[in-house]
């Protein structure tokens, strides 16, 4: 199916498991009794609340402002009352507060929001205005990492972007949210792409779709037909085709340099969900308050693609879709790069693409590396995961840096392939963390450099 289609070196083919939810049209998600809007929605500094307990808010109203340059605004997902601002478990294990909101059932939009803008006004808006509207709408990357979009759309001087890629690959097993979006809202995706292209002054825009979604590819092809500078291309079905560096390699045959970013080689990648959110923000003045989440897995009764408000606790989703007996694991995101959860109280974030209930047993105990090289063959970033796993096991973290552990995208292909069942990505993550701590320690030690070297306690 994928012969001759553009792709990247490495990677592998996990079982799809998309059948249970692929045919489910996007349906409205449950509205629980209380929403927990986490202040740490993704990468970057946590947002700062601008409301207090007891305040009444309307949907789309600003409830938290960016906490730094790399941070995003937060808007009330529905109208209601702020119950409290307190600690809330986070899917990524971060310690962050959340704004607890009790919906009043009216779902009323704030004034100025949900007001359609004229097509002419949008067509005439300048790039800077587009970026500002994106920032005001609190948009972040909806593919998972949730990087603030307005920062991505503002590359520093000297880093011009010539190609915008809209990522419709959705290479993770089980997830079908983007697929449904492409089938049901292709026009909005293309509108969003055109806005993005204009915002960064790119020459062209490409929508990438994996070959296992021919219906989506066809729909989008029809939408881009006749529009200059836009294209819709099919790429090979392989994990992790949807990883941005790998996608750029496949479509443009350019490689992001080690330690660099796509903007260094003139490319910008955004998820289809983000493109739709850009359309909503510019054409309808709707800040980001909801997203499509694939709720699936063998441990779930009724898989679905739900349009959920930000802040819906997973337990509301599980209650709505039914948990089967024998369910063992709750995962946020996809099974490859997603994070297992220990509580269902964690809320849906702007970057939550999936909530999976799996019934796979825990992996067997791992053993020594057998040096088979399967991981090296399939690493999409040209690393040597076997070497990295051994270095991590024996705590040789500086050597891990020398072997480019910091370039690892943590896709999990190596860990899946390993016949010895070694938790390779975990060692790499540990290595990255230890290197970060060592760097902080070195910087702190350098600050004390005015005292003579090796001064001892007296």
């Amino acid at each position: 199916m994928s012969f001759g289609l553009p792709t990247f070196p490495g990677g592998f083919h996990p079982p799809d498991r998309k059948a249970p939810s692929a045919g489910c049209a996007i349906a409205p998600g449950p509205m629980p009794e209380r929403l927990a809007v986490s202040l740490a929605q993704g990468l970057g500094a946590p947002s700062r609340p601008v409301v207090a307990a007891g305040d009444r808010v309307l949907r789309g109203q600003l409830i938290a402002e960016p906490g730094g340059f790399v941070s995003a605004a937060l808007h009330a997902p529905t109208s209601g009352q702020v119950q409290a601002i307190g600690e809330c478990p986070h899917p990524a294990g971060l310690r962050a507060n959340a704004i607890y909101l009790v919906p009043d059932g009216a779902d009323q939009w704030a004034p100025g929001t949900n007001v359609p803008a004229s097509e002419d006004a949008v067509a005439a808006s300048k790039p800077k205005e587009i970026v500002e509207k994106v920032r005001a709408a609190g948009l972040v990357g909806m593919g998972g990492a949730a990087f603030p979009t307005h920062v991505k759309l503002s590359p520093p001087a000297g880093k011009a972007i010539d190609t915008v890629i809209v990522n419709g690959c959705e290479c993770e097993p089980y997830l079908t949210a983007d697929h449904r979006l492409m089938l049901e809202r292709p026009a909005d995706i293309v509108k969003g792409l055109r806005l993005l292209v204009r915002a960064v002054g790119a020459a062209r825009g490409i929508i990438a779709v994996e070959a296992n979604k021919p219906d989506a590819h066809e729909r989008l092809l029809r939408e881009v037909r006749g529009i200059e500078g836009l294209a819709c291309r099919m790429v090979a079905v392989k994990y992790p085709q949807g990883a941005e560096k790998q996608l750029i390699k496949a479509l443009l045959d350019r490689e992001v340099p080690s330690g660099g970013l796509p903007m260094d080689i003139g490319a910008l990648v955004q998820n289809v969900g983000t493109a739709v959110a850009v359309t909503e923000a510019l054409y309808f003045n709707r800040p980001l308050t909801e997203r499509v989440v694939t709720v699936s897995g063998e441990g779930l009764e009724r898989p679905a693609n739900l349009l959920c408000r930000i802040g819906v606790p997973y337990k509301a989703l599980l209650a709505a879709q039914g948990v089967r007996p024998g369910a063992r694991r709750l995962v946020s995101g996809g099974p490859m790069m997603g994070l297992a959860q220990w509580t269902a109280d964690v809320p849906v974030l702007k970057g939550t693409s999936g909530v999976l209930v799996l019934s796979t047993p825990p992996p067997p105990d791992w053993s020594a590396c057998i040096n088979c090289g399967k991981c090296v063959e399939s690493c999409p970033t040209y690393l040597m995961p076997n070497r990295l796993s051994k270095l991590g096991e024996f705590r040789r973290f500086e050597d891990m840096a020398a072997h480019h552990a910091l370039d690892c995208i943590e896709c999990g292909v190596c860990t899946w392939q390993c016949p010895a069942k070694r938790p390779i990505v975990h060692w790499i993550r540990q290595g990255k963390n230890e290197l970060r701590l060592a760097k902080l320690k070195a910087e702190a030690a350098k600050k004390k450099a005015e005292t003579p070297e090796g001064v001892l306690p007296q």
Binding site: C369, R387, L391, E393, F394, R396
Partner: protein
Amino acid sequence: MDYLRLFFGVIFVTNFVLAQFLGLCPFLGVSRKQSSAMGMGVAVIFVMTLASVVCHLLLRHVLTPLGLEGFLQVSVFILVIAALVQFVEMVIKKSSPGLYMALGIYLPLITTNCAVLGVAALNSANGFADPKQFGAIDGLLRATVQGAGGGVGFMLGMYLMSSIREDMEGAPYPPSLKGFPIAFVITASMALAFLGFSGML
């Protein structure tokens, strides 16, 4: 051409540490890390070359005319080598204290190590100092080449060994083999591999 054959021959075919099993002490003692192994290798090349030259000159121009080479050559060689190593030790201590600390006791052990005496004795056994077999310059050049080649072969062996041993730190072999036992196993495997060169030159 002969010199090239001699040079590569002593590096691969008659490698001092892997084929002739001379100089095992620093080979096993300093080959835990690549950096100290390379440092030791450079020191050994220097000592071996200089020792080869000086010993050859003494043998050819002092001992042989006096007819003393039969019984005095070993004593003279050792005297020269000991002085040379002391000299090298002083130089390293001054110029690179880090390397000095890393080599530790193994630096003066170049003196008692049979590889350096071995190369001097090998030069002598090959007849380089014999006026009947080789001319003065020819013999000197051969001795130098063999000495330098011996050192390079030693460094090659140490570099390979240290690379393997560094990697072994990440390998789950039985703890009872930790340290010298596994080093000997590795050396034996390497020696077997180098056997493949025999008969080539």
